[in-house]
Amino acid sequence: MPITHYIILSLALFSIGIVGVLTRRNAIIIFMCIELMLNAVNLLLVAFSKMHNYAAIKAAADQKLPITEAILNTGSEGQIFVFFIMVVAAAEVTVGLAIIVMMYRNIHSVDVNFLNRLKH
């Protein structure tokens, strides 16, 4: 698969997420759209990681070089990064949802348009 396919797919998912944030008023949905955007980015990172891995191994094979651990490890940073994004996303969701629950408790709504003041 050409990498551009994955890039376009990720961009499409990302844009859908943005449109969701722009058009919806429900805080939870907006939150979910943000998760969607994060996932789009994750997908892109994994695709790039795979691309670099493939390229490195192929280059080594073409030049008849021994395939070392370092070459096999090429691109693993991308996946590790995705891992950390997931970790942060999970932490973010815990706090974010707690805040939304709090907000619902106070104003009995999750409409972000009601949240246009810094104080109540």
Binding site: V19, I29, M32, S49, Y54, N73, V93, V95, A98, V101
Partner: protein
């Protein structure tokens, strides 16, 4: 021209991902949105497997589908949000949002025009970068400090959530 099963799966998963992502933002009912989002995550996990990132595929399901989205569902169910609870937004604003998002996509895709599309992603022998052994070694050697720090982040997020969620 041969079509490999990978290509078929790619197109199926892509369509599924895009369709369910669209459904996420168009569904009136928040619960439906959550379920469509889970479907999106599953399609993305499928993509991960296609990219031989098995570990991330499974973690994606466990973390996102199994934990994060359950939380969302919990919150929505406890708040009893139905389609009536979300007042309709101004149609023009919706249009503006959709157009802006579309423009962004267009511009981003257009900017790809000059990219050399020679880079491809194929499965190669020994390309096991997404396998748990390799990632695990990398994670616990090179990235052990961020890993430990992220555990602290988790702990603080947990404490924060408990503190925020507690009734005064």
């Amino acid at each position: 021209m041969t079509i490999t099963i990978t290509q078929i799966l790619f197109w199926i998963l892509s369509v599924a991902a895009l369709f369910s992502a669209l459904m996420v933002i168009t569904s009136k009912n928040p619960v439906h949105s959550v379920l469509w989002l889970i479907a999106t995550f599953f399609s993305i996990s499928g993509h991960y497997i296609l990219l031989s990132a098995q570990f991330l595929a499974v973690v994606n399901i466990i973390v996102y589908a199994g934990a994060i989205m359950v939380l969302f569902l919990f919150v929505i169910m406890l708040m009893n949000l139905n389609r009536e609870t979300e007042p309709q937004k101004n149609r023009w604003i919706k249009m503006a949002g959709a157009i802006a998002g579309g423009c962004l996509l267009l511009v981003l895709v257009a900017s790809l025009k000059n990219v050399e599309s020679a880079s491809t992603i194929e499965d190669v022998k020994g390309g096991d970068v997404g396998f748990i052994k390799r990632l695990g070694k990398e994670l616990f050697s090179t990235y052990v400090v961020p890993f430990e720090i992220s555990s602290i982040l988790f702990l603080s997020a947990m404490v924060g959530a408990v503190v925020i969620g507690k009734k005064e």
